[in-house]
């Protein structure tokens, strides 16, 4: 159990959650809940991997995987924005469809051999920083570095720019935005699709960088749902989402590493000697998510924070009460 290895692995695999969560933040900030992250990630993962297997070009895989996620999200956009359907159900349908389609596409991919992955980089200079260097800047995939850039950009976009002002407005009060000529429908489409592209990217990150290969639904294994939970934990802030993603992934890695040594804190390691006990370790990340949500809901009540006011509510122009 080496803390640096655990944290570095957390940053690497946390990048998957980070992309998915940032995408979902964009979508939810615009007022559209998209529970189909898991399905979009699976599509992104399978298309990216399949492309890399077929062409040998991971970069093309990255591009097409990202687009696949975006393409699937268009469906959600049409159904929830134009048809004004229940967003929860549409998101679930997207998950069914995405995982079904991904399994159809990935039919023969589980037997595929190794692919060439996206390059890993060590940043000269920064990697020498004590503590931070080995965790963040040593032998990490290019996508990890892309994640470092995406988070502050997303934060700046949402909070400090004119388009961000419009984004926040359509999620909080679409009527107000519409009355001033902000095209609510068009912007919601755009942000739902941006969310989908990020989910596709997250899926591609799994198969091209973090844990290459296609294992059916286990490839993503619920990380889409965890990303949705992270957004709530992050209170719709990309920076909090990034911290949460890295930490969560690090904890998950730690739970694996715990099973390794025969001694744990000077005592015999129960997980080493009785392997069935590890099922309890596997529960921990999911219980942790529940625990975090319970804690955050308390904080949200106390500080009166909350989801974007119009989250989940279809926008219907000109409809008013009596």
């Amino acid at each position: 159990m080496d803390l640096t290895i655990i944290l570095a692995a957390g940053v690497a695999s946390g990048t998957v959650l980070l992309f998915a969560a940032v995408g979902e933040i964009f979508s939810e900030r615009a007022g559209v809940l998209n529970l189909g992250v898991e399905g979009m990630m699976l599509m992104g993962a399978v298309v990216a991997f399949g492309t890399a297997v077929a062409t040998g070009d991971p970069w093309l895989g990255l591009l097409l995987g990202t687009l696949a996620g975006g393409l699937l999200s268009v469906l959600h956009a049409v159904i929830t924005i134009s048809f004004q359907a229940e967003q929860v159900v549409s998101g679930l349908a997207l998950t069914f469809l995405g995982s079904g389609l991904a399994r159809v596409i990935g039919e023969d991919l589980s037997k595929a051999g190794a692919i060439s992955l996206l390059p890993k980089l060590t940043v000269p200079g920064l990697s020498m920083l004590p503590g931070f260097g080995p965790v963040f800047f040593t032998d990490q995939s290019v996508l990890v570095y892309f994640g470092f850039i995406v988070v502050p950009l997303a934060w700046y976009w949402i909070g400090r720019t004119r388009p961000g002002l419009h984004l926040r407005a359509i999620g909080e009060s679409p009527t107000a935005a519409d009355s001033l000529g902000v095209d609510v429908v068009r912007l919601r489409y755009a942000y739902v699709i941006i969310g989908g592209l990020f989910a596709g990217l997250a899926g591609a990150t799994i198969t091209l960088a973090v844990s290459p290969g296609w294992f059916g639904e286990l490839t993503v294994n619920g990380q889409g749902w965890i990303a949705v939970a992270l957004v709530i934990f992050a209170q719709w802030s990309p920076i909090r989402a990034a911290v949460g993603a890295y930490l969560f992934a690090a904890i998950r890695r730690m739970l694996i590493d715990i099973q390794g040594p025969d001694q744990l804190f000077g005592a015999p390691n129960p997980f080493y000697f009785n392997h069935t006990l590890t099922f309890f370790l596997e529960m921990v990340p999911y219980l942790l998510i529940i625990g975090v949500l319970v804690a955050v809901s308390g904080e949200a009540i106390r500080k009166r924070l909350g989801a974007p006011a119009a989250l989940g509510v279809p926008y219907v122009r000109g409809e008013r009460g009596h």
Binding site: G106, F280, Y286
Partner: protein
């Protein structure tokens, strides 16, 4: 002003000579929901067929195969009903919770916990070997429903008291339930190190139609078991509960408008927990019916995602208990036939497309859609 203002589909900058105009419907004719559901399913099958065709399959052959291998004879019809049984119970679990707009996505986990609870009765064992069915089976039912109810009440409690998003909690609990089950079948209850328990004693088996083959020869080989009766009886009870009981009225009121319900003096917190518990109990009973009626032992792979398919079942049924029965039989057929269909993702894909086309079709219930010529 009135709530009848027209809305337009996004058409800004469009060069088309027509535009779609949506007008809010004032009243919905009775036949329309049935017609749109039927239409949606037909469209979904057409789209699925198209995808299969593009993927190089023969959609007609596949659909014919699905129908033939699920309704083609008394024997396969019986197998279809066996697959429909857990769907009816989990579908009812979802329909009830969705009525109150509680998104219980955790029927899968509650199903697993129910299966575990029922198994505990004979595997721990709680009753000594040789206890007659008349005692063992009711006890297994109670244990399964209790396990499911407790497991359902957890997200209900967190939602009601702390406002925690129930979708996430129920989903996470699905994973936890699977690991919990895995621990028992890999560990304490493992038979010879395999990932399944020893078989249940026959006293813990739900009676099958084939058991009566001595009296009615036609029943020979029919696998339909008592669990189907559980499902049908539960549907009747839930229908009465939703539409004729006081608590059912409260649930419908909360589902439509929580604020109005509070105003009417209804305890929303309590109802949230109660409905989640009932929902969990139904899903738990489904788990019991599956281990005691079909596999007769506890193993890790006892559900091909019944708890998730239940969500679609509930939706197709428009959350009506009797509709759940019909939809369950249709999806039972899809699951049964789907086992032989390659690639294995096709049934899930078709389910997703059906669900999508269903919710898309609801726009026809809310709006009248007119095509009109664009003004110059």
């Amino acid at each position: 002003m009135t709530t009848t203002s027209p809305v337009r589909l996004p058409a800004r900058g469009s060069r088309l000579p027509w535009s779609l105009r949506l007008e809010r419907r004032l009243a919905v004719p009775r036949w329309l929901p049935v017609a749109t559901t039927a239409g949606a399913i037909i469209v979904a099958l057409a789209i699925s067929g198209l995808i299969l065709w593009i993927a190089g399959g023969d959609p007609v052959a596949i659909f014919v195969h699905i129908i033939g291998s699920s309704f083609g004879s008394l024997g396969v019809l019986s197998d279809t009903l066996v697959k429909a049984t857990p769907l009816i119970l989990t579908g009812l679990a979802c329909a009830l919770a969705f009525r109150m707009r509680l998104w219980n996505i955790g029927a899968e986990g509650q199903f697993l916990m129910g299966a575990w609870g029922a198994s505990a009765v004979v595997l721990i064992p709680i009753v000594p070997a040789g206890t007659p069915s008349i005692v063992t089976i009711p006890l297994m039912m109670v244990a399964a429903m209790a396990a499911g109810a407790v497991y359902g009440a957890i997200p209900g409690f967190l939602k009601a008291v702390r406002g925690v998003n129930e979708i996430i909690v129920t989903l996470m609990l699905n994973y936890v339930a699977l690991f919990w089950l895995s621990y028992w079948v890999f560990g304490p209850w493992s038979e010879g190190g395999f990932q399944l328990s020893r078989p249940f004693p026959p006293e813990a088996w739900l009676p099958r139609l084939s058991d009566a083959a001595g009296a009615v020869p036609d029943f020979a080989g029919l696998t339909v078991h008592l669990g189907l009766a559980f499902g049908l009886v539960a549907a009747v009870i839930i229908r009465f509960f939703i539409f004729r009981s006081r608590r059912g009225y409260e649930i419908r009121l909360i589902g439509d408008s929580p604020k109005a319900a509070r105003y009417a003096g209804i305890d929303v917190t309590r109802n949230t927990i109660v409905v989640f518990a009932i929902s969990g109990a139904l899903a738990g009973l489904a788990g019991m019916s599956e281990v005691a009626g079909v596999v007769h032992r506890l193993q890790q792979a006892i559900s091909p995602g019944y708890g998730f398919t239940a969500i679609i079942v509930a939706y197709i049924a428009k959350l009506h208990p009797y509709g759940v029965i019909v939809a369950s039989i249709a999806f039972g057929a899809l699951i049964l036939a789907g086992r032989e269909i390659q690639p294995s993702g096709i049934p899930a894909m078709i389910q997703g497309i059906i669900l999508f086309s269903l919710i898309a079709s609801e726009v026809f219930l809310r709006y009248q859609i007119r095509l009109e010529r664009r003004e110059a």
